[in-house]
Symmetry: C2
């Protein structure tokens, strides 16, 4: 029996990249499986039954045990592998501050991903339409989130203190997608100098580039006008997505 | 110096009620302060500077240490007071499953609150308008979430196993608001019998009623057509709210 954990992910997913980099940073041995989100493998009922009823990645399999949600996976691995305490906090207050960030992240920065998704992926899925409202909403959420990142990074070198923690990877990979898709450009960075400095520091880490290669290529392809065929249903833009069958909202599929 | 923790909350907030009930259930001594959300006390810059830059409640103050986000607060208290292990998990897998729920909750069930908010509070804040799209979106998210609650409650008595845990309180208080505002009615419950049974079990707990009294009264007042004057900005309906200044979206204030 293989005792390595199995990591199911996709490199265009920000939370997947955060967990992926975390495992590389702390040297957790793992097998990986790229889930074909582009063709909707994760939307098959058999996939949902086996792994995650929401169809979302990342997912971790450890023997018979399955866990999903990026923060839950990283937290589980942190405990299982006795990872250095900076990643999830060395004392009660640090741990609470990290949990606070992780929950804030879900309802703020993560949702800013709508700006990337509707600028670049929506056309690939549903064709050319007017996505300006959804893009504006994503950008609004992204801006609101960047203001808080800047506030925190004015107080400490990293998001939850002077040492790197899992929240930094989670936050970083949201911004990597926005950079890949030119959602964040120089004019934005000028408003957030501390965040820019933090972003650059994280970019120099040895695993940042490896984990981000695919999304950088995908971003470049989209910026060059290439359409990437996909029928992906997404949780990326949860709350900003165009839902089928809701009165007054654009229909999809 | 008073060594009791101080709990800043509002009884119409679902996550506040969950933490409140948790503290009562596990007998944590605390001082409480009801934050005047109705008149926007939490939106004052001085409040945000002192406590939480998002202006959201609940907030916990423990001496000089401040933590917000309901799950982070409960997790901190769980650790500080050596609470019985059922609440946040007695082993690594239980803890991971609880974390998984807590993160799922933020992007699913919590967002279903838009159905309540736009049915009952939006008119109180912005006057009579057409909120049907936002209500439909909230209901869609609520339905999607109820399907997963039902799935999990078919497998075990509580959301994360056969013993009660903090996720149950968090989930329960979302549904309490929907019951108070008649968003969830008999026809809905018939689709989710296991969830109904779980809801009823939780309702019989001694602290459920105390913590829910105000929202039940508020719901009844709104159902009777009373307007409750409020200028509350909300995170309740994050992602479904009408944002000021976004092109194509209704303007507020």
């Amino acid at each position: 029996m293989n005792s390595m954990v199995r990591f199911l992910h996709h490199p265009t997913s920000q939370p997947c990249r955060a967990v992926h980099q975390f495992m590389l940073e702390v040297e957790i041995p793992f097998e990986e499986e790229v889930v074909d989100l582009i063709n909707g493998e994760n939307e098959q009922q058999s996939f949902k039954d086996a792994y995650n009823p929401t169809g979302q990645v990342p997912i971790l399999r450890d023997g018979d045990f399955i866990v999903w949600e990026s923060a839950a996976i990283a937290s589980y691995l942190n405990e299982k592998y006795a990872v250095p305490s900076n990643w999830f906090g060395g004392n009660m207050q640090q741990r609470a501050t990290i949990q606070q960030y992780l929950h804030w992240h879900s309802t703020y920065l993560r949702r800013g991903a709508g700006a990337f998704f509707y600028t670049h992926f929506a056309e690939c899925i549903w064709g050319k339409r007017d996505y300006s409202k959804e893009i504006a909403k994503g950008k609004h959420t992204l801006d609101e989130s960047m203001e808080l990142l800047e506030l925190w990074l004015t107080k400490s070198h990293y998001l939850c203190g002077d040492e790197i923690s899992f929240p930094d990877l989670l936050g970083y990979h949201e911004l990597v997608s926005h950079v890949a898709g030119a959602i964040l450009v120089d004019a934005d960075w000028q408003k957030y100098p501390k965040t820019k400095q933090w972003f650059d520091t994280l970019t120099t880490r040895s695993h940042s580039k490896t984990v981000s290669e695919v999304i950088m290529q995908v971003g470049a392809a989209r910026l060059a006008g290439h359409i990437i065929p996909m029928n992906r249903k997404t949780s990326l833009a949860k709350g900003t997505e165009i839902k089928p069958g809701i009165p007054g909202m654009a229909q999809q599929q």
